[in-house]
Every structure is written in structure tokens, then in C-alpha cells.
Symmetry: C2
Subunit: 534 residues, 2 copies
């Protein structure tokens, strides 16, 4: 019934390619990177991994939902960053939590808080476990103290649907597919599609400010939250359901992005949409990346609000098998439940062609039920969802493959883009490796894009992946911060981005966050080390 999750890699265990398939991938990667043969290594088994025994037992009252099962502890040791995959692949489960709590109700969570308070236990909230920034692992500062990972996924129901206001009250542990399947009978959809959609949870999206792949207008989950309910060690934080308010600073905006340091989100009212009936899209090819960027800028400032406005540079288009002819590719799509979108797409096509974009396949128009596809857009979509699975496979070949993303104002993009590429390529070159760096825009705003970078390279020598990755990541992050960009548009801060986040955020704001933390979580039980030091 329940499909098995990989205890070390991305997503479902059955998606990890077999040895034969990975041999083919190794050949392919070798061609791209111009390196010698890559060793196809086998993943760890539950028996082979290294994990210290649990330091604590659950009290009898909690044993119904708290476990020290080895596989459960393995599944909750890491998120799914490159660094996590690598450490897990090597069998290092040293930071495993001592216990895993599968909470079913708010009472279960309050019981954990009570117990944690008296016993000095560290509590790490856990949704889909897809953090790519070290957001759900035992912090080094608590290496010897007991840690409980609190998994919310049993709390996955849609509790209320308000069809008139198009909103629903949903439990925080619901994954994308789980909540969409419960909304579908009402003709409504949340339409929040982060890359981790199949695994990650509403609560996780809220505390990490997740970005959906609807690329303009409503991008972050922030825009979709109507109210939120969070349990803190000092009481219930529940905001009022409101379409908007001007009553003081928004309480919800302090929960959004709080990464589990202030409490555990248990449910939220979210804004829904009617299921779209009209769809129009077009894919444009541009000979130069610069022209494509100019077209995207004009589109982002046009007020047309496309549901998709993705730019892939030539390398990105090649990797994702969209086109191999060296063009940059721009996918523009409109969706509506209310009206046909001819006028919208026509104007978008005018803008794209005024910047030299061509549209070889012409506009694609679909109405509800029409399953004919825009092949380019669909090739990209499937590559998008599969990408994290590919990354896990590459780890087993000793290839370093990772992504990072940001946002900046338009005036800063050119210099940022050059600096980022030079930083990453130059770092790999320092040990003689070539490095593929590709860029796409996942989201665009009137005042700037959200560029997303993928890099693939090899370490100086097998086994040196972690150190090499750390150098690449730091070089890239330095370039972002030095060029006025953000350390993350939608991957959150966690523990990985801390040093650079600390350079980005206003110092009095950090002081404010620490003050709130002391107030609401005086024993500092909750997810210490992300965002701030307690």
C-alpha cells in the first residue's frame, strides 16, 4: 500500500536506477565532463550504515507514536541536499535522531513539547524531509543530547472547504498529491507545485517559504496562506482567516520562513483556485541569452501575469533535452478557469518576437479535457520533476551535481550572472576539472528574475566530493551575496545557508528573531541552529 521511501536518496526507493542504467549514465556524464571512467558504486543497505544507538526511550505514554526503529531513524537523519545524499550514500548516519515521533494530533505534539521541556530534548519538526539546506538534521551543537524528529505526515487531512471564498483548512502534514486529491471533488486546487511536490508538505512549504512553479504573480506559498495555526511551547499561535488586513505587522509573515524555530505549524487556511479550463502556451527560441532575458523582463513588466514564464539558457535546454541547437528557450503559458486567453498570448508573442524570439511550433491552445500537449513544455516538465532522482543517481557515480538559486533586481542580473559562472567554473578549474553551469529563471517579477543554477563536475579525486562541493557552494554563495542577490529565493536558509544569510539580513532583525525565540521557546528545544543561534 505505502510506497517505500529511499532511506538515503531522493523520493521513492523504486526510482533509483539499477547498475546497468547507471553505467549508461556514467558514460554520458563522462562525455559531458571530459573525464576518465567513473566508478559505479552501490548504495548502502540498512545493515551497512553507521548509526549510534538511541540515547533515550520514549515514556510509556508516548510509545504509541514514538519509535527508535533503525529505518525510521535513518529516514529522518537528513534532508535531501547533495551533501545529505553523499553522507548517506557513504553510510554515515551519525547525526540520526534518537527517536522519531509520528504525531497524529495536536495533543501528541503538546505531549512531546512537555516531555522535551522537562528532559532537555531537542525537537526537530519534519514534513516531507526534502530540505536541501540542512533544515531537518541534528545540529552539531546538540551532538550528544537527545533529539526527537517529529514527523507530521499522519496529519494530512483537508478539514474544511469554503467553496464560496475558494479556501480550505488543511493539516500541515498533507503532501501535494494528498491535498490535491481531497480538493479535487470540490473543483478546486491549490496549484502550488514545488519541485518536491510529491513528497513535501503544506507545513514544510509554509515554514520554508516554498516556491511553486507558477512563475509569476503567486509564486511563494506566502501568497496562498490565509491564516495559520502553530503550536509554540508558550501557547497556540492562530491567526484569523482574512483576505487581507492592515492590523499591525502580519503575524502570518513571521511564521512563513520560520523554519521550525518558533513552533510547529499544524494547519492552515489556504487560498485555492478553480481548476483551469483554458490554457495557452508558446515556446520561443532565442539565438542569444541576453535577448531572451530582455524579452522576459518586458513580459514580467507587462501586467499579463503568465502562469509560466521559464527561461532556459542553451545549456539548460540541452540538459533537459528541450533543444540542442544552442538556443535559449522561453516557455510562456497562460491558464484560466474564467476566460479564453487569446489576447494574452498574442501580446506575449508580440513581445517575444520584438526581442528576436521565434516560435517554431506556433502557439498551443488547449481547453479543458483536451490532452494534446506542447511537447517542449512537457519535455521540460518531466525533466523538472525527475531532476532530483537523477541527482541521487549521479551521487553513486562520484559526480558532483547540485543546484542553487537566488533573486536579484534586473539592473544587477548581468554582473551577477557573470560572477556566479566565473566563481563556480573557476573553483572547479582550480583542481583541473571542467564544470557545466547552466541557468534558468524559475520565477520572474517586475523588478527582477529568480535565476536557478545547476552545476555538474567531479572532485579532484574520488572521495573528495564533500570538500570539493563545499568550495563550489561557498564560491557561488559569496558571488550571490557580493552582487546584491539573496542567498535563496525558495530553498530556505537551514544550516547550510547560515553564514551567507547572516550577511544578508539586517542585524536588528536577527536580534528581533532571537528575542522572539527566547520568548516563545525559552528552553530552545525547537530546531536550534537554523536562521539564528539561540
Amino acid at each position: 500500500m505505502t510506497r517505500e521511501r529511499s532511506f538515503w536518496g531522493w523520493g521513492y526507493a523504486d526510482r533509483f536506477p539499477d547498475t546497468e542504467a547507471r553505467r549508461g549514465m556514467a558514460e554520458h556524464a563522462r562525455g559531458i565532463l571530459g573525464v576518465g571512467p567513473l566508478e559505479v558504486q552501490e548504495p548502502p543497505t540498512l545493515d551497512s550504515i553507521r548509526m549510534p544507538p538511541s540515547r533515550i526511550e520514549p515514556p510509556p505514554g508516548l510509545s504509541a507514536f514514538v519509535t527508535s526503529d533503525r529505518k525510521e531513524r535513518a529516514l529522518h537523519t537528513y534532508g535531501r541536499a547533495y551533501r545529505d545524499l553523499l553522507r548517506a550514500f557513504r553510510g554515515d548516519f551519525t547525526p540520526a535522531p534518537d527517536l522519531v515521533a509520528h504525531v497524529r494530533t495536536e495533543e501528541d505534539i503538546l505531549a512531546i513539547f512537555e516531555w522535551a521541556k522537562t528532559e532537555g530534548i531537542t525537537v526537530i519538526p519534519f514534513g516531507g524531509g526534502t530540505s536541501v539546506v540542512g533544515g531537518v538534521e541534528r545540529p552539531p551543537s546538540r551532538s550528544d543530547s537527545p533529539v526527537v524528529s517529529v514527523n507530521l505526515r499522519a496529519m494530512d487531512r483537508v478539514l474544511d472547504v469554503d467553496v464560496m471564498s475558494r479556501a480550505a483548512r488543511i493539516q500541515a502534514g498533507a503532501t501535494g498529491p494528498r491535498l490535491e486529491e481531497q480538493l479535487a471533488p470540490h473543483g478546486l486546487t491549490l496549484r502550488h507545485f514545488p519541485q518536491s511536490f510529491e513528497l513535501s508538505t503544506l507545513g514544510g512549504w509554509i515554514v520554508t517559504r516554498a516556491g511553486g512553479h507558477f512563475a509569476t504573480l503567486y509564486t511563494h506559498i506566502d501568497d496562498l496562506v490565509e491564516s495559520v495555526r502553530m503550536l509554540t511551547p508558550r501557547g497556540v499561535w492562530e491567526s484569523r482567516r482574512l483576505p487581507a488586513s492592515g492590523a499591525g505587522p502580519s503575524p502570518d509573515r513571521l511564521v512563513l520562513g520560520s523554519e521550525g524555530i518558533l513552533g510547529i505549524v499544524t494547519e492552515a487556511w489556504v487560498r485555492l483556485q478553480s481548476r483551469p479550463r483554458y490554457r495557452e502556451s508558446a515556446t520561443f527560441h532565442f539565438a542569444s541569452f541576453e535577448s531572451a532575458v530582455a524579452a522576459v523582463r518586458e513580459l514580467s513588466q507587462s501586467g499579463l501575469h503568465p502562469s509560466n514564464c521559464r527561461l532556459l539558457d542553451a545549456q539548460e535546454a540541452r540538459i533537459n533535452m528541450v533543444t540542442g541547437d544552442g538556443s535559449s528557450v522561453l516557455i510562456v503559458a497562460f491558464e484560466s478557469a474564467d476566460h479564453p486567453l487569446g489576447a494574452w498570448l498574442d501580446r506575449a508573442m508580440e513581445i517575444a518576437s520584438s526581442h528576436g524570439g521565434t516560435c517554431p511550433r506556433g502557439p498551443q491552445r488547449r481547453t479543458s479535457g483536451d490532452r494534446s500537449a506542447d511537447a517542449t513544455a512537457d519535455a521540460w516538465k518531466s525533466a523538472f520533476v525527475d531532476a532530483p532522482y537523477l541527482q541521487s543517481a549521479l551521487v553513486s557515480l562520484g559526480v558532483i551535481a547540485d543546484t542553487f538559486e537566488t533573486a536579484c533586481t534586473w539592473d544587477r542580473f548581468d554582473a551577477l550572472h557573470r560572477a556566479v559562472r566565473e566563481a563556480v567554473i573557476g573553483t572547479a578549474r582550480s583542481w583541473g576539472a571542467s564544470c557545466s553551469v547552466s541557468c534558468r529563471f524559475t520565477h520572474v517579477y517586475p523588478d527582477g528574475p529568480a535565476p536557478y543554477y545547476t552545476f555538474v563536475t567531479v572532485p579532484p579525486s574520488p572521495g573528495g566530493e564533500l570538500e570539493a562541493w563545499a568550495k563550489l557552494k561557498c564560491a557561488a554563495s559569496d558571488a550571490l551575496i557580493e552582487h546584491g542577490a539573496t542567498i535563496t529565493h525558495h530553498h530556505a536558509v537551514g544550516r547550510t545557508h547560515r553564514p551567507h544569510y547572516d550577511r544578508e539580513r539586517p542585524e536588528p532583525f536577527a536580534a528581533a528573531l532571537r528575542a522572539i525565540k527566547r520568548e516563545l521557546d525559552p528552553t530552545a528545544m525547537l530546531n536550534p541552529g537554523v536562521l539564528i543561534d539561540p
Copy 2:
């Protein structure tokens, strides 16, 4: 050169109608309210008002910009709420600040902080002074201690314009007209038009989460702020210019709505728009308010994003002289710098007529430079801007005339609307007065409207205005809170809304705000009593 502000009433002194004109108004109001003759009273003079002497002298270093001038102190005693107008009209300037500082630079502000810290002085930031919630007056808790009102209006320059990203860095003291006149040469506009546009300031808008009269999509100033710079007693809080970020909770969102309790905003980068070239609008009449509400709901969920979507109920349409035939009137307008809007307005007209709306004058289409007008929309606009001037005149007749506003989800609107009307009308009826209560929607969202109410009545007997108003205001506020609405969509909390705000916001959020306040303003010098008690 500088047009004189009224020291007691709304806006410019020359806009207060003479005795003759007010006699006519008294006759008109008498007809509507069915009361006996109203006494036309004369406004106070600067010599007649009661104001205690200043408790402090500025230190020599600050005397260049700090004054104890009587008129300056009078101008900074109150905001411009009904209650303020009434107290000022009666000559009660007891809570006047002891000094007024017209700061010219950040150094001036820091010097005030330093002085205030050592001398135990209360500092009240002051922009346009148009608060309608008691946001800029001496709090009762500081009735005997020295108070300095810090006026930011000398800091009114546009410092930087980034045309590519359509953004500008603007000083906090710039009023609407001041910042627009500096942006115009760049072909850009902020297009944030609160009712107080001609007087209020960017910094005031930010700390009160002001609502512009563009009615959907970008409504609050929140949406237009790219970054903000605030001086706190513990250092500079400056966020990075970013189109979007997912790095922790948004620092800007804690400044937005902070009402001067954490620091003084000195400048912000704001998002601009190109000046619109295309405009389409239509005015619909509905026989029933309920049908009009249903049309607005469908429009708000259509994804058409009109720039204006104002609903006036029959009484509101009558008062604003839009129509007197008992119809509810819906004004829908679209604007764009990029494309003609025929398809947008056509679909809006389909929606309106499917709910029984008629459009007697047909759609109005204007392109840049075309000054032909939609007469209905323009009648409404001019009434909108003049309304606060009218209120000051009504105060001089002993008429109680005030507004309050809110937002709620669609499913709650009907019950809320009934309850609000009954509460206000029933309260006036308790002393035998009739009461006009009208409603418009100033803003609409996919999940609910922002209803705005105007009430006009008379007190039990002349002189009883303040007590009668307090009963009406409390009855209305109780109804809002009890029916799941917010105490304010865009008028802020200040001191007037405190008791009801306290029932609305999550208690742990208030604890968080208090913790931040202690951290950033340890001597509690800044605007005590709004939002929280120190």
C-alpha cells in the same frame, strides 16, 4: 509658497467652508437625518485653544530643527480621526507634544534618539499627520512626561531611480504629490493613492500598511516595498533590495504595520509602474446589492485583475452623487502601459451582466492623452478625495460623521454586513437618532471583500458627540470582531483600535512583538501604546 495646513481640521486651511456654505450643509444634513436645526459653530483660533506650556527646552545642538512654537505644537497634537477633529474643534490641545522636531537628515534623528534616551523623552514619529486611529498623539500613560513629535516631511526626495527594474529609493517624508512629481520625468509612477494622498507620506504608508485605491492585486503599500531602511535605537535596520526572497521571515513585513514602535523609517526602495497608456472602464447599475456583491465576487476570482473594482451601495451612490435611483453601482476599470484592454473589459462586462448589472453609458475606452472622462467614475473620484474635508465641516455642525473599514472572507460577508448595520443603527436609535449607514467595497480579493462603512448621525444632545461616537464605534468594532472580520483593512491600529486588535491577533504574536520592542527600544521611547503595551 507653502499652503497653510489647518491646525485642527483636515488638510489645507483654505478648504474649510465659510459660515454661509456650512449653513447650507446644515440644512441638507437636517433633511437626511430628520433632526431639528443644527447649530453652525465657528472653529477655534490659535489664541483660543487650551495648551499646557512646553515641559522641556531643546538642547542647543538641536535648536536648529526643534521648536516649541504654539502652532507647530497644535499641528502635531492629533491625527485627523473624527475624535481628533472634535477635540481640536473644541479647543482641547492638552495632549500637545512639548516640542516638534523637523528632522532633515538621519543624523538629526539619531541625535533625537540619543537625547531622548538620556532624558526619558517620548518620541512620536509624524509623517502627514493623517492618522485616523490615534496613531500620532501623546499616550495617556505619558501625560506628564516630555514628548517630542518627530516630523519627517523635510526628508522628501527621490534619491535614486532604477528605470530597468522600475524601482526608486525615496525618503520617508515624501508625500504622494512630492514623490510623483519627482518620478514623472522618468515616465514612472508609484500609483499608490490612499485617500490621504495629498498629505500623507511614504514612511507613514509603510508603518501603517496603507491601502491605495487600486482595488485589486497590488492594494497595500506592502506589495510595493522592495526594501526599507529604519533607524532603531539599537542600530540601522536595512533590508536588501530584492524582487523576492525565501531567506527566513521577511524583515520588511515586520516593519510594515509597525506604527513607529520599533524605529523610524527613513527611506525605502519601492516598486514603480510605467505610466498607463490604455484605460478601459465601465459603470454597472444593479437593482439589488446582493447581485452586485455576487458580480464582484466572480470578478475578484476571475483573474482579470481590474485596477478598480469599487462597489457602492445605494446609499453610498446617493451620498456621492453618483446616482439617486436606488441602484448599487459598480465601477470597474482596467489600466495598462503595455496593451489595449478590450478583452479584459469585455469579459468583465459579461460577468456583470450575468448578475443583472446594466451599463447605461456603455464601456469607456481611453488611450494616453485622451482626457474624455467616464463621468460616473470621475464624480466618485472627486467625492472620494473631498470626503475628509466634508467631515471637518460636519464636525462644526455637531453632526457625527465617521467611517470604518474591514475585510472578511466571502462566506462571512452577509452576516457581517447585517450585524454591522444593526449595531450602528441600533446604537443611534437607543438615543432616538436616525443614522445613515452606507457601504462600499474599497478593495476586493479572491477570498473576500474589504467593506468600508460611513455613518452619519447626531448625538443625544449637543455636546454629547464624543460619548455618542465612542458608543457607535465600539458597537461597530464589536460586530467586526465577533463576525470574524479584521478591525482594520488599511486604517491601522493606533490607540483607538487597540482593544479590538487585542482580540484579533494571536496572543503569542503580541508576546513576540513585546519581546522585539524590548530588544530594539529598551527605554520604550518610541510611540508607546500603539499595537502593544510596552
